[in-house]
Amino acid sequence: MEVPIGSIDKELRKLWEQDDARTNASLMNFAVYSEAPGALEKNSRAIQTLTAEHACRALLIGIDRDAPEASIRAWITAHCHLSHGKKSVCCEQISFALTGKATGRLRNTVFAHLASDLPLIFWWQGELSPIFEDRLYSLVDRFVFDSSEWADPAGSFGKLVDAISGATRDLVVQDLAWTRSFQFRVSVAALFDDPLVLAALPEIDSVRIVHHPDHRGSALQMLAWLAVQGQWRDGMELDLAVARKSGNKEGFSFESQGGKAISAELVSDPESAPLGLVELSGGGVTVAVSREAGATHLMRTIEAAGHVVEAPGPVDPDDPAGLIGEQLARGGKNSLFQKILPRFRQFLER
C-alpha cells in the first residue's frame, strides 16, 4: 500500500490495529539497498523468506541515481508467518523508491523510520557507489555486502577498509562471499579436531581449492584463512606466482612455521559448486571437504594410514537471502574476517 512519506508511522499503526490476532515482532532494523532496476520487488520476496526466521523492521531502498529529478515514494506492508502452526507473527516492511541525488534523503527520511534501540543491519547490493560514505555507515551496526558481485574487488575492498579505519564507531562488515565458505571452514576445523589429523598439521605441504569462476573471492578468502590460522608465511615463489597463473589454475606458495614448503592451487571449474573442494595433505594424511554442485550436504573425508572416514555436513545456502539468514542466526562481530582481510587483499592485488 503506497503511503505519503509523512504518514508512514500513522499508517503502520493502522496496519496493526486492523487485526488483533497478529503479533508484531522485531529484533532489528534490516535495510536492503539496491541501485538495480526492479530491486524493490525482488527484495520484498527475499524479506518474506528472511522474516520467517528473523523478526525485523525491514526497510527496502531502491535508488535511481541517474534520474534527473529528485523524488521519494513509500509503501508499507507486513509479512506474516504462522509460528508453531497457530500464532500469526508479522514483520513490517517499508519500501522507499528514491530518484536523483539521494545521500541526504537516505539519512534524513529513510533512516527516520528505524525502530528505536534496535540494531541496524544494512545489506548493500551491487557495487559500492558514491552513496557509500560516512553519513551512511556511521549509522550502521552491521554492513553486509557480496564481494562476488563486484567487478573490481581489489578497489572496492580498498574503499571498505578506508571506511572501517575512518569510522567513528565500530563498523562490523560481513561479506557474503566469506559467509559462503562458513560450513567449509567449520568442516576443516572439525577435521582438525581429530588428534591424528592435528598432529599432521605441521607436515601439510599441499592445498587444493576448487571453486566456481564466479566465486574466486570465496576461494581466496578460504586460502587466506588457512594461511593466517596456520601461520603460514608467504613462500619464496610469491613474486613469481602471477607467472604461475595459467588457464583455470593459479598457484601460491607458503612456508610453515617449521619451514615446510606448502604449495597451494586454486582451480576454477564452471561445473563446481561455489566452493567445490578444499583439500589439505601432507604427513601421510589427507583431509578434504567437498560439495557437488547443487548438493544439499557436503562431505568431510579423512584419509590416514589406509583408513578413510567420511561424514556428511550441512552446506551454506546458495542464495544471498539464505546466507544472510544464516549469518544473522550466528551473530558475532566477525573479527576473524577482519583478521584475514589484509592477507586476502594481498592475494587479490597480486
Binding site: 581429530d194 590460522q229 596456520g230 544439499t296 583408513h307 550441512p314
Partner: protein, 510 residues
Amino acid sequence: MTNPFREDLVSRSRPEPCTVVIFGATGDLTHRKLVPAIYNLAVDGELPPGVKILGFARRSKSDEEFRKGLEELNRKVSRSGHDDAIWEKFEESIHYHESEFTDADGYKRLADRLDEIDRERGGKGNRLFYIASAPEFFDDILEQLKAAGLNQAKDGCWARVIVEKPFGTDLKTAQHLNEVVNRTFQEKDTYRIDHYLGKETAQNLMVLRFANAIFEPLWNNRYISHVQITCAENLGMEGGRGGYYDKSGALRDMVQNHLLQLLSLVAMEPPTDLSADGVRDEKVKVIRSLKQWDTPEKVAQNVIRAQYQAGHVDGKPVPGYREEDRVDPESMTEAYVAVRLMIDTWRWSGVPFYIRMGKQLPKKATEISVHFKDAPCVLFNALPGGVPGANVLVIRIQPDEGISLRMNSKIPGTSLRLEPVKMDFHYATSFGKGSPEAYERLLLDAMAGDATLFARRDEVEEAWRFIDHIEHAWHQSKTPPPMAGYVAGSWGPKEADELLQRDGHTWRRL
C-alpha cells in the same frame, strides 16, 4: 597443540570423535531421542567425523535390522526431518551388539568390537557409554564394564559414562549407585543426565539472571515475595507407564531431579566462573540450604500429595489413578505433589518456593514464575480497585519457551484505572530457528567433556536427602499425612491451594 582453525568459529567446548555405546539400544529412549539427536547433530555439522554408535541389547538383531528400526523412528521424530542421502552415510556408523547385560563374555566381545571399530576408523579409542537400560541393570553394566577393562581409557583417550535417570530411588540406593559408578569411572568422567538442564530456557536462566543488570539487584527477599515452579502434564498412565510410575510417584520421578535442578538455577548465587564445578558448586549449596521437612508434622504442613479421580481432560473421559492400567487399586503413590520449600540463606530468608507437579492436569506446561512484592501502599492504592497485582516474571520452560513480565498500566481514558499488561518474549517468534533438542546439547557436551549441565554426585545425594524425609513420612511413619484427591482435568487438590493461601498467595493461573 590446539586446533588453530577453531578460532572464532564456535563458542562451546569441542566434542571429540568417539564410539557411543548405548545400553538398552532397543528401547524407546534410544529410538526416539538418542539416535535422532546424534543424527541431527550430524545434519547440523556438529558431530565430529568418526563418531560411531554401537547399540548394546539383549534381543537378537543384525546391524541392518537395528539400523532399519532406527531409520523408521527417525523419519517420524527427527527435528530436522529425514534426509535419505545423509542417513545413508550416517547409518554406516551404526552397529549392533547382542548380549545379556550380565554376560561377562558379551563384554569381552564388546571390547574386541570396539578395538575393531577403532582400527577401522584409524583413530583414537574414545568411548562414551550411555546407560539407557532399565535401572535394575545399572549395577551389572557398570561392574561388567569394569571387569572387561572398558572403564579404563587407553593412552591419550577417554572413557566416560552417561547415566540416565532414575539415579537411585532414595538416598541409600543413590549412594550405592554412586559408589558403583565411582568404583568404575572417575567422577570427572561421570555424566548424570537430567534432560531438563539441556533445554534452551533452562540454559537461558543463567543468562537472564547474570547478563541483565536489571534483574540481579531485585533477585532477593527484599523484592521477591515468592517463587512458583510448575510442571503440569495432561497425560496419565497411557502406554503401560503405570507399572513404572506406581513404584516411583511424582516426587521421585520429577521433583527430586528436574524441578530441584530448576530451583537451584533460580536460587543459586552467581558462580565464580562458568566451569562445570563453578556452576555446580553454587547449585548444590541451594539444595543443601533447603530447610528439611524431617517430621511427619512438617511434611503435613508443607507437602501435599494427591491422586486424580475420574474426570475429563481435553474433553475426553479419563479414569482415576487407581483405575489406571498396571496401577495397584490400593496404591498410595502420588500422581500430584505440591511442596513448599524454604531456603536458609540471606538472599532467600522468608521467601517461600512452591513446587507442584501433577498428572492429568488441564494442560502441559512447565514454567517458573517469580512473584515480586507489591508496590508500597501509597499513591495508586487509594484508587478504586487499587493496584491490580504485583509484578510477575515468568520463565516458560516448555512448551512455547519464552519469558514474560506482568506489569501494571493505566487504562486509556480520562479516569485513572490500572490493569495488568504482559510483556511477552517467545523464543519461537523472536528466533525463528528451532532450538536443538535437549539430548543434542547434552550428548555433545559429554563428547566434549563439559559436565556443566549434568548433575554431580553431591547434588543428587543432597536432593535425595531432602526427598527421603518426605517419602519416609508418607510411607513409614505411624501418622502419615493423608492422600488428597482431585478430579482429572482440574488444577489439583484444594489442599494444594490452601498450602499457598496460608502464606497469602495463590497458584498462578496457567
